[in-house]
Amino acid sequence: MAVIWQNILTFLQGVLRFIGDPITILNQWLTGVLSGWGANATLIQVILAILGGASLVLGGLFFTVFLIWLERKVGGRFQDRLGPNRVGPWGLFQPLADMVKIFTKEYITPTGADKIPYNLAPVLSVGAVLAVIAVIPFASTIFGVNINVGVVYLMAVGAIGELGIIMAGLGSNNKYALIAGFRAVANLISYEVPMVLVLLIPVMFSGSLGMNDIARSQNVWYIFLAPLSAAIFFIASIAENSRAPFDLIEADSELVAGFNVEYSGLKFGMFYVADFLHSATAALIFATLFLGGWRGPGAESIPILGFIYLSVKATVVYFLILHIRFTVPRFRIDQMMNFNWKFLTPLALVVLAATAVVDKAIPSNLTALRIGVNWIVNIAIWVAADRLVRVVAPKRVVPEVARPRPLARPPLANPPQAAAEHEPGGEA
Amino acid sequence: MIPLSWYLILAAALMGIGLYGVITRKNLVGALIGLELMLNSVNINLLAFWRYLHYAQPEMDGLVFVALAFVVAAAETAVGLALIISAYRSRKTVDVNEMNLLKG
């Protein structure tokens, strides 16, 4: 009897351990199985790498289906609609139906299209976003790869995405697509400048470029040490995935539908997937860099907890992105460029320099003092920037579209201003 | 293991291709593209020497040189393209053979 109990207990312990840290245990198990089949160590590593990579990529692609549903549902609620609600419970299967439809749509290649760039563009777009997943640490043991240049890799992969947009614009043989593509790229590269600048701050604090190292080193969330940089990074990453208010790429009222007008079927679908997945990865990256990533109570010993923490943090950020998307009107392109080059970039430069000097001046073991001084400096910079904008910015001439008009009703016999005319000082 | 000579020969070939582009292209932008290839071949060489011929203590010279080569390459491209745009604006061509103002 005792033996059976013992067995059940060990089994339960095993299950718990598996739930706590599935990837490591799966890894060990697969390694055992494969070496049992007589594979050598290199081959096992390669096979595991292929399996891991394929599962991450496929997971990303199918997760997008859920993201699309989420975005439509949340967007519906923001706009006082129901959102998808016919196919499946709460319309959950709607994106699946869309997927089937988009798979069977005809590809229409416009006349005069440049075949190779035209067909390569959607692959580059979606591949660049998928490649980001490789360096995101989902938990202390669950990550694709912790290369020692993870942060720069993120930016480099973004460059491939820009290339995809340029190719789509050039290949389509369409003026609208070309203009939209070039505007999109001008937009993306512009907002990359403040993004890279504030990206240096987590790197400075953690002393590493690896994403997992950055997550691991956050005893204090970096948003508390560098609130202004976090804000700049957040704004720039919204602009990078071209969400409203920066959605000039898809400015439907100006540029038909952006650089992907000439695409149909799954080629268009790939741009769509890239778009949705991009904002999800942006939320994940923000959570990793500034919100402590998978860090939380007990996350070191039980990796799955870290995964849950990261999901919660990323969901909050993602919801914020959605909130901004559905409530803020679009910028004009000149406003957008001005905002970036004349406000965000100088601000990022100042914040970077100030944070570097201030944080060096304070010993790093005085955490409370560090946070306090950093906040004071950040707030001071923000106030100064705000004042400067008001002083320097040219006075806007507001066109008279809302001139006071004559009222339909006659003025009151005793205007209420009469009471205000009594000077309080006159009494003395 | 890959021998050092492979990298050097690859860099030499890339340098030759780039130089060919610079010499033969009529279009100035095309010449600049050739120049980019040449700069890259230099970087391959620098990194290969850094990787293969560093002795006892780690030498950062190779890496610093590559970093500075990046800066110089960026400066060269930016100014070169600006000159091309300026030339195009005044002469409406980017053809090297038609820029013969000094020919007399």
Partner: protein, 174 residues
């Protein structure tokens, strides 16, 4: 032949092939796109050399900025878009011949050099650590002067390029 050598040969072939295509393409836009592929190949070569930081920076700077700048510049000059005639000088074969001889000469020189067969020692951990590079860059006895000078070079680049490229106000009025 080891796996590393196979990868090297593949990447090298792609790099050189797309390089040749880049200098021969009729349309400048295609040349720029071939250049991108070639630069990507160079990035992989850097990764093979275990210079991971520069492999990534290669993509970031060359593909993300320089190639895009070249494409922008191509789109600015109309004649380079429409001109689809032969893009090379008539005596291109002379250049090709000369460069081939040069290439063979360089190869001979490389292969005769005694150190060419040296096998790379495993990199010490401090060599792959970027912090070493960073400290060296701001070390007054190291590379501080080039570091600051590169900043000034970038400033000069920006000033010069903007001064050259942006139209003067009088020209706009004309």
């Amino acid at each position: 032949m080891s796996a590393g050598q196979v990868i090297f040969l593949l990447v090298g072939a792609v790099t050189l092939g797309s390089g040749i295509a880049a200098v021969n393409a009729r349309k400048m836009l295609h040349a720029a796109l071939w250049l991108v592929l070639s630069l990507l190949g160079v990035a992989f070569i850097f990764a093979l050399l275990e210079a991971s930081f520069f492999a990534v920076v290669q993509v970031l700077v060359y593909i993300g900025a320089i190639a895009i700048l070249i494409i922008f510049a191509v789109m600015l000059s109309r004649s380079s878009l429409t001109d689809e005639g032969t893009q090379t000088n008539p005596r291109w074969w002379l250049a090709a011949l000369g460069l081939l001889i040069l290439f063979v000469g360089i190869c001979a020189a490389i292969l005769l050099w005694p150190k060419v067969t040296s096998i790379p020692a495993p990199l010490p951990a401090s060599a792959t650590d970027l912090a070493t590079l960073g400290k060296e860059l701001v070390n007054p006895n190291g590379y501080l002067v080039p570091f600051e000078l590169s900043s000034i070079l970038l400033l000069a680049t920006l000033v010069g390029a903007i001064y050259t490229a942006v139209e003067k106000k009088e020209e706009i009025k004309k």
